[in-house]
Symmetry: C2
Subunit: 480 residues, 2 copies
């Protein structure tokens, strides 16, 4: 009877696993030799693009992200290729105009993407609209995403309402994205049946192993009706990455679930990636601390990455003794800002504001520009409205955007193409420039004028995950 | 209602966690400053002695294991201190006479041990008898152990019969010891209620996170009625160690279980051990590979440590291409030998015999002396009797011990004390010499005659876990 129950697996080793463990530094050369095997292993999907992969490819690896995608597609004719898209932010760090969104999605489909996992940091569904429309227009699969967070307002009814809205918008599947690894078995047991009851499309659960509960959370989620889980092949599993593909598959098969996975092929894939993992450990790219467990995220209900950012900001300010005070300030700032999920860019804004509030000794004496933009409505709608008096105390009587933020953006593709001049040889080039004006332009110059001296390329220090650029911006402003 | 359900935690960071992750190399100095905090955290027990700790202390750390125990006891007046005892092997590598067993247990109680987890590699209960009697005599808690393994004969009824026998012998609690990390949720769901039904003492589950299923196995075990689980504080958790204490406690408390643990204190303990873990990683003592997942044990139903031993034996013999052939030979050898559990020393015997059988091209052309001793009955009774013809083909018509092997051993304490001469200043010294004749004597010479040149101390290369001495012996014999 139970044998009829299916669980599908999305493999993250080509995207989230190395993004989470080693700041997205896996090279295309390390991926391609095994892609054919991955194509045959029985996965539901291979997550292989989006998130920070594009940024890391042009910024650190000096690789063409589009060429990586085409090469993967060529070797995986059967598997569904999946990418992570930050809604109106695409894979960059600001809201882009709708024409850029349309072009980007079109090109991603053309180069090989089948499934788009689309999320907005505020769960503001208006920020998903343009990418959803584009995905539909180009005939791909739109997986709309619930960013999971914990707060007074993020209740089961809040999430079921959101899930219902995403289905009504036309989601082909729904993802619960637990970017911080704080979804627990208890909550999964309650949340998943509630969501399944209001949707008629597959439900995908995404978590991270960081806090040492993810295997249990997946098991509870599956028992509660989840259809798809995200796992990483064992050499790149656990720690800040996902639970191991083979282990989850073996356990579930033994319990009578059908996964469609071929264990022998998974083992070959693991054997392939093991020396690659060891190579990145030996070269220092993969810090072994990333492989270990840190339950602090679970204790403070704050993502682990945010905790370590706060810690290092306070160290830089020689105020490490204020750590507990800042941790107590975080939920207060979050409440003031309408309980945003603690994901990029909100985790940086909330964290930096909490640090400011504690270090200056006066709440909101100093406010980063990003927080002001947020209060102007430029990022979208907070989960609950911000108190009017609070807002006025920060941005006075400035006008506030209450409709879709991107409605205020003029088309920009043609302008950017013109700006880029003879570096704009393909639409992909223009997108690279649109998404990463400085780094993208430097990259294109490297490609088309390889003799140009190195120092023109803007090289930045490695930093963790998707948060790179915005953390740097906020910290730069703090120092200035 | 569920709130009444209790789960108790045994903390392994002072014994199994560092034994599994870094070959038992944690120094007493790294333990003592946090023991008072551990005493207050609400653990059921602190596993802190036995296993390979004694050997590693005198062999590699040049530390007095008894002094470590006394110092821990002094700082933990409330907590129960637990040790791992290999039945008639105590913490050494052969069967010792009953008088040694009695003295050792007596001294362990005197120096601070409350709970003895006693196991025999063959699950031959006669090998537990002398230590059980001694533990009772000195008024401590005897936790008798089922070594969990997978084979045709290790069925649920096999284990329930064993559990019943252990209870009848007088076990104060029972442990299911899954040394290889191959106990799955499915089996836990069946095995644990079956065992609980025939015992009236608490049931403790011990597993390792190696194959990436342990969180799920613990959860299934607890739902099925397990009373105590073994966990490691997060910096020394996962990988080849146990699941993280804080994570399991948080998840279980949220599900309505009462753990008795103080999360704030656990966090302080984790904060203490994090830089210690990082120090051992930086110095190379903790190989980061030990922190990662390897589901191969689950696939081959063979402990991970045995797989890597086989791999390195074959590499040394320049026969890496025979790996698959050896893996196929392992279950055949195991069947020939009556399906022994694959734990020290049986895992080494079975593995080496399988290598011999494949490399010589003729099964049992070459047989290690340990296997011959085993067939003579010197290790005890196999789970099922060895075929007579098979035995005769190896050891001819030699007499076979069928009663308790230790009944054939003369008392040895007095003799060894005399042998040791003026190095025998305490009973503990005699035990050190009894357990580790060469290394122990060298250690005592260092202690009492510190001017004696270094080269008299027998220094061996680090090797993994409990298996150190016997693997080296078997490999040495193979080479000679
Ligand atoms: Co993720
Ligand atoms: Co163990």
């Amino acid at each position: 009877m139970e044998k009829e129950k299916k669980v599908l697996f999305t493999e993250t080793v080509l995207r989230d696993a190395h993004q989470s463990l080693m700041a997205t530094r896996m090279s295309t050369d390390d991926m391609l030799p095994i892609v054919e095997k991955m194509d045959e292993a029985g996965y539901y999907a291979l997550e292989c693009w989006g998130g920070a992969t594009y940024d890391a490819a042009i910024r650190f690896l000096h690789e063409d992200p589009w060429e990586r995608l085409r090469q993967i597609r060529k070797r995986a004719p059967h598997a569904k290729l999946q990418m992570l898209l930050r809604g109106q932010n695409l894979i960059g760090y600001r809201h882009y105009a709708d024409d850029i969104v349309d072009r980007f999605v079109g090109k991603a489909v053309e180069n090989g993407i089948d499934i788009f996992r689309i999320f907005d940091a505020l769960n503001d569904t208006r920020n998903l609209k343009a990418s959803l429309e584009a995905v539909k227009k180009y005939g791909a699969h739109a997986q709309l995403t619930i960013c999971y967070t914990i707060s007074d307002v993020h209740t089961i009814p809040f999430y079921t309402d959101l899930a219902k809205e995403l289905t009504e918008m036309g989601a082909d599947s729904i993802c619960i994205k637990d970017m911080a690894g704080i979804l627990t078995p208890k909550v999964a047991k309650e949340l998943i049946p509630a969501i399944k009851a209001v949707i008629d499309v597959p439900l995908n659960i995404h978590t991270h192993a960081t806090s040492g509960v993810s295997q249990m959370t997946y098991m509870a989620a599956i028992e509660a009706g989840a259809d798809i889980i995200d796992c990483a092949i064992s050499p790149f599993a656990e720690g800040t990455s996902q639970p191991p593909t083979e282990s989850m598959a073996l356990v579930l098969e033994e319990l009578g679930y059908s996964t469609g996975l071929n264990i022998a092929k998974l083992e070959e894939i693991a054997d392939y990636f093991k020396p690659i993992r060891d190579k990145y450990i030996a070269s220092g790219v993969l810090d072994p601390k990333m492989l270990s467990v840190d339950p602090k995220a679970l204790i403070y209900q704050v993502p682990g990455g945010m905790l370590s950012n706060l810690n290092s900001q306070l160290k830089q300010a020689k105020a490490s003794d204020k750590y507990e005070a800042v941790l107590r300030e975080v939920p207060r700032v979050r409440a003031d800002l309408g309980f945003p999920p603690l994901v990029t860019p909100m985790s940086q804004m909330v964290g930096t504001q909490a640090v400011f509030n504690v270090l200056t000794g006066e709440r909101y004496k100093m406010v980063p520009n990003e927080v002001k933009d947020y209060l102007h409505g430029k990022y979208g709608k907070p989960p609950v409205p911000v108190n009017d008096n609070f807002r006025r105390s920060i941005i006075g009587n400035d006008a506030v955007i209450t409709d879709r933020p991107a409605d205020h953006l003029e088309p920009e593709f043609a302008r950017l193409k013109a700006e880029l001049g003879d570096l704009a040889r393909t639409d992909e080039d223009v997108l690279t420039y649109a998404l990463f004006p400085q780094v993208g332009k430097a990259y294109l110059q490297e490609v088309y004028y390889p003799t140009i001296p190195e120092e023109q390329a803007e090289i930045k220090a490695p930093s963790q995950g998707e948060t790179a650029e915005s953390v740097i911006r906020i910290q730069a402003r703090y120092r200035s």
